[in-house]
Subunit: 419 residues, 2 copies
């Protein structure tokens, strides 16, 4: 094994559908996860399911790199050939493991199904490999150590690969890292990318001269992430480097900074509601249920989320939310007045403490000169604090982008009301 | 140039930030765009900005493939080395072009800036290359033809790369495609991957012997896609090859086949509702608004979607949906009886023709032995047809996966009721 600093890790993603652009490869997940333990990929390759090509690529990679990770091609069908290709490259047999077959049978039984015969293939593993159990699907992963090289075989579907990588592969790979790299992120809502850049770039550039810092500003639609990668001899040195920068960035971003952990805005808002023992009810129009969906992606959200009235038609606005007919006629469904009436109705009909509403025009059609596509009103009522807020927003983008930006803006308004 | 069927196209993405998972590479955009003109990538590789590695990868690729596309590394900074690496590999000089410099100066002037000196580097092009103007940024793209091989250099940022690829590169590459490849997909809901495989594999394998057919079965959680790639001399030949296979696959899949176009299940259901002039109202519990969100991702859904009552708390189930208190006590919120009462309440409160409801346990906690995580009841009431359906489902997976599978199952039950 060469020294840590020269050690190379290569990733091979297998699947014709990846090359056709049908699925996202997992390179970004794996690259980012490795970064957390101070390791980096030196090359990533994607090829189809042809065995001849896989064999030649694997041979090349094993010549260059100490660690080779493959994803995909472990499924049950005839075009899943990773096992066979690696068996050929390493000149190791495929061995049948009845314990794996038993586990797979149980996996199907739990769902009231009998195991199709073709799945049997997945019970074969490379001779001498350490088996990584698959908690979600049938294909187990494998780690094979051979002549100072390491080959790690992982299933392709992200929901199978990701927990296996986090729980089994990262702990295994930690022996090759020495805490010499740390990544921290600042999560921001309510500011555009350019404003975030203007606030944080001068701070980071000042320190960049003396410390080993890389940084990037990443845009996830309405959420901005400022990511720093700091290198140093050891953890203590890194933490000392980060401290003053972190302080200055926090000050510059103020209340727009909503987290410094891998945490979603809906999780931050959920924690605030829990802490204040407040229950939330929604009235959604243009978002069609998206905000309720985001909020309920958080486990345990039933402790603070009562429900959402998705009032796509005016009938529901009138009948369930009790929005006055005259408001709809006089101001229109997309208006400050209707947003407030919807928030009030949301609170009442869901028996919540806080009512939050969204009404807008998601497009692509339905806009007018006065009320263009992308217009949104968010309403918030919170009687205990005697609050009644209606805020206007303007977004651009595709229908789904506008829906997402609308949901995030409403969540952020709620967060800023609660802090 | 070798014959079309053996022609290989490789993509090389350049940039250390790609390997660190910081940015998505453009392989999916390029793969999908090539597919539209009947071409495919045979390999995709990502490497960092090290010139030595780039040179060796370029040499390997040019040995294997007839067309090599690179993205990235055309920027103005010291670590943008694609031009230099390719100049070395092809043994061609870099030549200064004053016309490009002039254009770049104008690009900065339009924004009221003077051009930084480092950008001068971008005015150098490979000797003999065709220049692809950059409408959005400064780095021009290039096409170099050399000894029967084609090298295409493109900038990395998606907003610069994508218009250049669509407007300049695709028209150029069309000469290599002759309608000699066609991709068709069959979209399936309501069957697991292995059952789909057992139904369609024997059909495809039978034809595979005489025709040039590749196929893949792709899993998008509860949605399965069977994808066929058929090669032939011309379009007519391909269509004649596909016809009998298509017929047999349709027959084998029956009502589980919901589309043969790039169309979502929510779009198919929307069209059925439109055609039958029916309005839909939802009552969602465990999905938290996800089904309403999916339905309203379709533009024009307000013509058939009335709204959704997201009844996350029992209060909303009682107050808005009028689910009898005794049902909740006697059968529990996750039960056949409550699902039907919710569907009835959804129909009434949203003034719809059809009421569709979901109640289940998304997990990770909240399950019991009798009612485990993953249990779902879907209710459907449609008085005009005197229909009252309550169906039970069991899913495994993470919270978000269970929510998605639940939403898709309810949509599919509705689709099968309407066809």
């Amino acid at each position: 094994m060469t020294s840590m600093l020269n050690m190379e890790i290569e990733l091979i993603s297998i699947g014709t559908e990846l090359l056709a652009g049908k699925l996202n490869s997992d390179s970004s997940f794996i690259g980012e996860s490795l970064g957390k333990i101070g390791l980096e990929l030196s090359r990533e390759s994607t090829i189809g399911d042809e065995k001849r090509k896989m064999v030649s690529l694997l041979k090349e990679s094993l010549k260059r790199a100490e660690i080779v990770i493959t994803t995909g091609g472990l499924g049950p069908t005839f075009d899943d050939l990773t096992r066979e290709a690696i068996s050929e490259v390493l000149k190791k047999r495929l061995i049948f493991r009845s314990a794996i077959l038993k586990k797979m049978r149980e996996h199907f039984q739990r769902r009231g199904l009998s195991m199709p015969k073709i799945n049997q293939k997945q019970a074969y593993i490379i001779e001498g490999a350490t088996v990584l159990p698959n908690e979600v699907g049938t294909a187990p992963g494998m780690i094979v150590e051979e002549k100072g090289k390491v080959l790690i075989l992982l299933p392709g579907p992200p929901r199978e690969l990701q927990p296996m990588f986090i729980k089994k592969v990262l702990p295994y790979l930690k022996r090759y890292s020495e805490g010499s790299l740390k990544t921290i992120s600042f999560w921001i809502a309510g500011l555009p990318e350019s404003s975030v850049a203007e606030l944080v770039e001068p701070i980071i550039e000042k320190y960049q001269k003396k410390e080993k810092i890389e940084f990037a500003i990443l845009v996830h639609l309405s959420i901005i992430e400022v990511k720093l990668k700091v290198k140093g001899e050891n953890k203590k040195e890194i933490n000392e480097q980060i401290l003053p920068i972190r302080k200055k960035i926090r000050k510059a971003l103020g209340e727009n900074l909503f987290s410094e952990r891998e945490e979603k805005l809906e999780g931050v808002v959920g924690n605030l509601l829990l802490k204040k023992r407040l229950k939330l009810g929604l009235a959604e129009s243009c978002t069609g249920g998206l905000l309720g969906n985001l909020i309920t992606n958080i486990a345990g959200s039933s402790r603070y989320f009562q429900g959402s009235i998705v009032a796509y038609s005016n009938n529901v606005k009138k009948k369930v939310l009790k929005v006055p007919k005259t408001y709809l006629r006089k101001y229109g469904a997309v208006s400050r007045e209707v947003a407030l009436a919807m928030a009030k109705g949301a609170r009442k009909s869901t028996k919540a403490d806080i009512g939050l509403s969204l009404t807008g025009i998601a497009g692509p059609s339905g806009g007018t000169k006065e009320k263009p596509v992308g217009l949104l009103f968010v309403g918030l009522v919170y009687p205990r604090e005697r609050l009644k807020i209606a805020k206007e927003y303007h977004f651009v983008g595709k229908r789904q982008d506008i829906k997402y930006r609308a949901a995030i803006s409403a969540l952020n308004l709620l967060r800023r009301t609660l802090i």
